[in-house]
């Protein structure tokens, strides 16, 4: 998975707002950020960089091979 986990979330929503592709949402019960649409992650790390508490872990891989121009 591209965006892998969020540990130690304080629920400030910085990552949610900063994600260009709307991958993360606030869980209404726990009031914490939750990775809801990981398939749309573009692995740009903005969420991780905006997170004030260094909670987000991202890996460079996608779960399925992606379409490129040659390969």
């Amino acid at each position: 998975m591209p965006i892998k986990s969020i540990n130690g979330c304080i629920g400030c929503e910085e990552c949610i707002k900063s994600c260009p592709t709307d991958v993360i949402r606030l869980n209404p019960d726990s009031k914490k950020a939750e990775i809801l649409y990981p398939e749309d992650c573009q692995i740009c790390h903005l969420c991780r960089m905006y997170c004030p508490v260094d909670a987000i872990v991202i890996t460079p891989d996608k779960s399925i091979p992606v379409i490129v121009s040659w390969g």
Binding site: C44, Y50, P60, G71
Partner: protein
Amino acid sequence: MKTETNNLSRRKFIALAGGGVGFAAIAGLGMNIDWALNNPEIDADTILKNTINTDVLVVGGGMAGLFAAVKAHDAGAKVMLVSKGRLGASGQTPFAKGIFAYDKEKEKLSIDEFVAKVSRSALGTNNQTYTRQLAEHSLARVNELKEWGFFESSLYNKSFSKPIEERNIPMHERVTITHLIKEDDRVVGAAGFSIDEQKVLFYQAKSVILCTGAGGFKPNGFPICDLTHDGTVMAYNIGAKVTGKEWNDGHPARGENPAACYDGWGDMFEQKPSTTSIEVRHDLGVDMNYMAYMSGGVAQMGRPGMGKQENSVSGGPYRPEEFSSEKGQGGPSKDGEKDGKRPPRKDGEDRPPRKEGEDGPPGKEGKGGPPGMGGGVVGGSSAGMSIHKAEGLVPINDTCESTIPGLYAAGDALGSYMAGGIYTQIGSSLSGSAVQGAIAGETAAKYSKNIKAHSISASKLNAIEEDILAPLKKEAGYSPAWVTQTLQSIMIPNFIIYIKKENLMKAALAYVEELRDHHVPHLRASNLHELRLAHETKNMVISAEMKLRASLMRKESRCSHYRLDYPELDNENWQAWINIFKAEDGTMQLEKQPFNTWATVETNSKVEFNS
């Protein structure tokens, strides 16, 4: 999900079968139709409506949008800024780290010489007025950015928020604008929806500035998956002329984990921005695509000490000689420095200097790739994107005005040809957006002063609302993700979008038309996230059609447009840009517009130009 198939109730089955002939046929065959079912998480009928009035509506929260909003406000207009994402944290702006500032005290070249040099590299494809405007205004914009603290952080939201908050400019973030509204032959507003609240939003505005950036096919390896040419397609839908679709941004990605754009760019996204001075190149072309095509998919990028990469493939895209020298003027390098998204390196910086032909996806030396990396790269990481500032709405003058009264565009949403059909001045993309945003803002404010507020008709609002919410109301349909993937597999291969040939483009066009006519109308969405995807997918399909038609029309090779069947420059017939517009009958029409002329509102397809 699986259980639902088995327990599919009779009523549901009937409803589903009635949903669409195609689905009925499948259902009739007794096939598993689970994949097509829409399971809405929200009730489209309970979605609220909201209408907001403003003088100037700025769509987009990147560099262009920031300046458009600030300058329109400072010119006395009531401004509203709407962004699909977050101010300074969506589109390409957050990843652009080099910003060009022409400082006449420091530069050896005069503005005239600079413009001439850009035109030479661009093979005439640039609009000299916009190239000049960039040089004239860039330093002033950069100085304003400095005041707001732009150069103090790698993240731009804080510095962008400063002037917006100081001016109390109202802002809607995470709102996807899907429609521009035209009545009485002018723009009267826009409409869209929030992805957080169940709300359809109507903006009644005297003028609209599209700062919506460029776009692509949600390609992997470049941070543009939120950019789907929304502005261009919305404007096209209300009759605006758009341009620049045949050009290509030829960014590659690493062979290993090609989707990881952060990793591909090394630590560049973590850098603070900095200014660049004159460095005119001939970049972002499709040289590497040609090399890979001719050598059977192998694009090997050398690194210092790994053997110098020799371009053993002859032919291919033409590059003016003075821009292919070993030093400085841009060889086929496609690393981060291209497009100014990397601050200029200085001697003694932590990063080893890159050499020409070292290409490649930008890799962070040492940490970045796996050991021995520096080899395999794959193409198409920015597939679907044209050259910065070369695609978008056709301007009718030097104030970012489109062919529709009241509609303006700035930055990558404006086909200003500031750089040309090839990327020329390093760092000009970001400063060009700032410069054009400011000009569009001032012009729109001035225009709005003489315009009376317009109340959009209720019938129009209802029709638009229906259109916005349609995917949510589908009983069954295609998932936006699948249609996007299908589009990607049609468009992204090297032999379609980069190394162009008539027969293959026609074949691809047939596929794209199929998606347009028989799949886009059946896009489904079960929530607001998917609703956004559905609208984005719709726009990408239109954009793909534009790219193919424009590429088919330009029967020559120039800058980043390369035709295998027409590999030469054709100065006799093609000193012209291609404009695309929607005809009265809804069909896509194309026309030529001679270089360095202004577009007219009427179609000038009959214009002869052999001068």
